[in-house]
Amino acid sequence: MEKNKHSVNGDARRCSCICGAAPFFIGALTALAFGWWIFPDLLFSKQPQPFFFSHAVHVEKVGSACIDCHSFREDGSFSGLPKLAVCAGCHGDILTAEPDGKSSSEERAAYAAEKNFVENYVEGNKEIPWLVHQKQPDNVFFSHAAHFSRCYSCHLTMKGRLNFGSPTNPQKLCMNCHLSLEELDKNKAVEFNALTGYSRTTKKMGECESCHAHPGHFSNDGKGRTAANNACYTCHK
């Protein structure tokens, strides 16, 4: 009886040993799932762009390089997103042919989109409230001019950590920080961090330092290097 009792107790103990670890693992797994899958969704809010803009179409029809639209100003500053006036230069009127019975659904969609743009923005003289993927904090001074003229002019034909593209595909320089045209053309919603307010793709200081913290030039150790120094005032204002 006593033995029997003992054995019952023994089973219970073994059982509780297995079952005893279960809450721990359940907790751990839940936390892992939360931390890896749910938390990022909670942290980032998705906001759609005001409307779809195809970089690919514009690159094909208007210009081949980024700086044709995202240009430098004479005073050395970078214009960033083109103002409505630049768009209105071509899209003052609707360019797409008005759809008729033979038009495909894509042609109809394109016409509707352009009509919407011309009527709402161009005629209303309303700047497009684009969401920016790479907006840096106010205390950062990122010199597009420095990166474009200094790095680009040499690195166009060199191989290194930074991919500077080729003369036929100069956009690649920009794509080291910015989204590629293919990514952009997927028209995904922009994800903004609920705490910081910056987009998910905004470069952080560590990424700047992947080159800036390695002064000196010409190295084959695979690290990005820069002739610019890493002093605070190089990038801060």
Binding site: F72, R73, E74, D75, G76, S77, P137, D138, N139, F141, S143, H144, A145, A146, F148, S149, R150, N229, A231, C232, Y233, T234, H236, K237
Partner: protein, 275 residues
Amino acid sequence: MSANKDFNVRWGMAIDLDKCTGCGACMVACQAENNLAPVADASNKLRVMNWLVVFELSNKKPFPDHELVYLPRPCQQCGEQPCATVCPVIATERNEDGGIVSQIYPRCIGCRYCMAACPYHARYFNWFDPIWPKGMEKALTPDVSVRPRGVVEKCSFCHHRYMAAKDKIRVGGGSVYVPGEKGRKHSAIPEDGYVTSCAEACPNGAIVFGDLNNPAHKVYRLTRGNAHAFRLLERLGTDTAVYYLSSREWVRRLGDNYLQDEETQKPKRILPNKH
């Protein structure tokens, strides 16, 4: 960190005290350029933020022999910074590109060691959040970030203008440095291409700004071998980049704590390459 390296370019000032009338235009221009918030009552000078202050100097003689001189005091941009050496978080350092002492606001933890260390009282602590009267924030410049409560700030020699001037050269296809004498490099920015807001605003031309190492610049001539030039607390060895010019001996004497019979000293680098 603060080894007094002889940088290629060293931005500096020569402030002509014979020309300053103390009108305050430089102080207003500085605040406007660097987004300092106005305050309704500015009498508590320990709490008011001013990157540039115009002090009043007197020869202390009774009327009618009294003489008056005004002395604008920006950050002296020391070669040997008392401030940067005490910063526990490296929120301030001297930039080898121009010799300007930086202040990085998001990095600053507000301990104020640097303020205690600065012999020129050039550093200011944000005791309060910067508040603009409603709508006035529309007149802020985009060049300088607005500092929150709790960090230290100071004159940056309008560093953002230096960055902009360099970018202008880059976009124009030029190089930001040009070779100078003795293997030195000079900034390719023309002398009037980068000027601080105070120097620009001064209607009397009392503040001359330029590269102390570039013989083509006015400051070079005004500061080298000029018997009428002096620096503040010269013998402290801070090697400041701000020189003052005055034709009056009593003004130059006020630049340092001289003994009664001691002769006023001329600017020189007291501690070259100490570290």
